[in-house]
Symmetry: C2
Amino acid sequence: MESEATATSHKLLLRAGLIRQTSAGIYSYLPLAVKSLQKLERLIDEEMTAIDGTKLACPSLAPAQLWKESGRWNAMGGELWRIKDRKNVDFCLGPTHEEIVSSLMASELQSYKQLPLRLYQTTTKFRDEMRPRSGLLRSREFIMKDMYTFDVSEEAAKTTYELVCEAYGRILKRLDVPFIKAEGDVGQIGGSMSHEFHIPAECGEDHVIVCTDCKVSVNQAIMTQDNSVSSIRGCQLATNCRSHSHKAIEVGHAFYLGTKYSEVFRVTFTDDNREKRVAEMGCFGIGVSRLLQACIEALSPPSGDQIIWPTQIAPYKVCIVPIDTKEDNSAHQLNSLAETLYDTLNDGRVPVLDSDVIIDDRMHLSVGVRLADAALVGYPMLVVLGSRTIENGLIELQHQYSGETEYLTFESLVAKLQTFMM
Amino acid sequence: MESEATATSHKLLLRAGLIRQTSAGIYSYLPLAVKSLQKLERLIDEEMTAIDGTKLACPSLAPAQLWKESGRWNAMGGELWRIKDRKNVDFCLGPTHEEIVSSLMASELQSYKQLPLRLYQTTTKFRDEMRPRSGLLRSREFIMKDMYTFDVSEEAAKTTYELVCEAYGRILKRLDVPFIKAEGDVGQIGGSMSHEFHIPAECGEDHVIVCTDCKVSVNQAIMTQDNSVSSIRGCQLATNCRSHSHKAIEVGHAFYLGTKYSEVFRVTFTDDNREKRVAEMGCFGIGVSRLLQACIEALSPPSGDQIIWPTQIAPYKVCIVPIDTKEDNSAHQLNSLAETLYDTLNDGRVPVLDSDVIIDDRMHLSVGVRLADAALVGYPMLVVLGSRTIENGLIELQHQYSGETEYLTFESLVAKLQTFMM
């Protein structure tokens, strides 16, 4: 499998044992990936909660009937995974959930007093890609965070739109990755306004044009449809301005939908004049599993020897490697020191479900193999407990991303790591 | 939908706004259900971590090829959701993951030094039930925690088996629900030993026979196959002993698999004599969404007026209801007091993603409606802020499960709720 991987991040995920392919474009997430994904989902949850997002969870099996009502049963073409149940009823595996959420809100929404509503979920989505490739960047089963918003008016919906875009910006800033917010294509989702969030990367499949004069960005896909995009964006792009094209990975997408779905599914409410109105909708997505890999692609060196993680979503921030010495007594001392350090850093919590520290105690593997693994997985901080530790009481701390090495007493090591892990 | 519900717990989940059906046997989880499910998953994670369980996540789309190798592609019959991709390749939507995990371990496992291995996941599973019914008790898309274990020998595998069964017992004890561990049927999964975990309930579809003399329990499904079960269990059941039959909901299942799957998928390792051996396996499941409803069924009164939750998984432990008084000034005072109480109980954390406290500030609804909702949803503690609070400074605390009501000062209320929420 690794031989087929072309993107550096894809190779790294395979080499470091984070994912395994089960079928073309379909992956199992191994424990380190699960740990990182949980942190990423949590980080997104924090920002969604901050804009009054409420979490729900819709099923994967979506009734075809709803997709026929919206017209997307046919429009989606071969990318839609279609399935029949034992009674020959048609379903699809949801690639996105406008239909289900709109139809749900048709019965739940009554009054303007319930609005704005910002519902989101982080669930598995499905898209039968013609050419799945690059690991989690374009896979057929993936994790997506999708939000659906309902507002009383176009103005209110646009305020919501800005709020969600700002939250997306904060998420990417917290991940310490460079990103571009660009005007985008409305595609199969529809609506009248759309922005994409891109992480620049050579292996990306999108081309984003950034005008350094006007500070606007646009997906080149729009420009090829209409060469006079300047009118859309108030920029002389491609004429007088200095623009740069970036290859990029799309990790987020915002759509102002208007009433496209709310009319079809009759998502209405009574306004403050007791008149029935159709809700204004927006929908917003972050490709969670794709974002995980895109961060690795953006931050890691192209050599493919080491994952560099956004600190916030490294599977563990600290790895402790006790080195097997030939003397039984020292080995015992080092293992016991590793445990003490582990317990101290975990603040005595048991079980250590949320631990940010891992001990590599696979003592049947050589020191070389374990240190190379620690470098490859890219734990930001590596603590090496070896014979020197026993001789002079100093512990080796490797900052794996800067290459810096320090020798610290137990107390100063703990203090430094506790600060780092906060 | 509610009219079709027969189980009390199913009616309650619908009435309290926790779930909505999107197709027969397929549900959306609304925010309160998501909150409770997250707590339940976390509780299970804690107990799985305590027995050295490591979390992974396998895809829903399982290649038919693996299921044909195990022989279950045909054996599962109509319950298996089958789907073809755009290239006409067969897949199924995994109802369980012995095939994927075994095939994964075939390439990951090398040495006995890696064993025991206890891998688990909490993911969406699929089963095309002929007659989906009773809400989450028998649905076609559900959440399951499944664990797959690998050991060096039958003896070691049986030790693992006992450990997992004990963890299942601890999970059910922490949920404060009565349960029965019974000998069970190996069914489609296979293997030579099996135990089921049942919650007694009238709407349950299993019959569990409990012998009060010999302290053994068995699923009646086994007895009808073989009337002389006494030999299996060392009990004179149905002859001299006093036995009771319970209708029950199966919420957990343990299987000792031996080498049934590891032989097919060549899950081998080198033992300490450098000889190649086949790993001994076990598999274990908890129906997470089913367990959520089974707890409600077991604990709530049959009247269907109120959910009683296991405290550990109540969506919120405390609900604050500020009562709208006609005087603007008092209303302002009460809302501000509600906020202060909320912030104090959340210990100043923002955003309050993990908050166990909710304010029902839907001031456009009458007090009666909001108090009835709070009773129905079954928050264990209900704080009512009304005119009496302003008059004498005392706050009303309703213990919703016992019916007890107290009037407390702000400080003693906070102290009492902080203790309760720990």
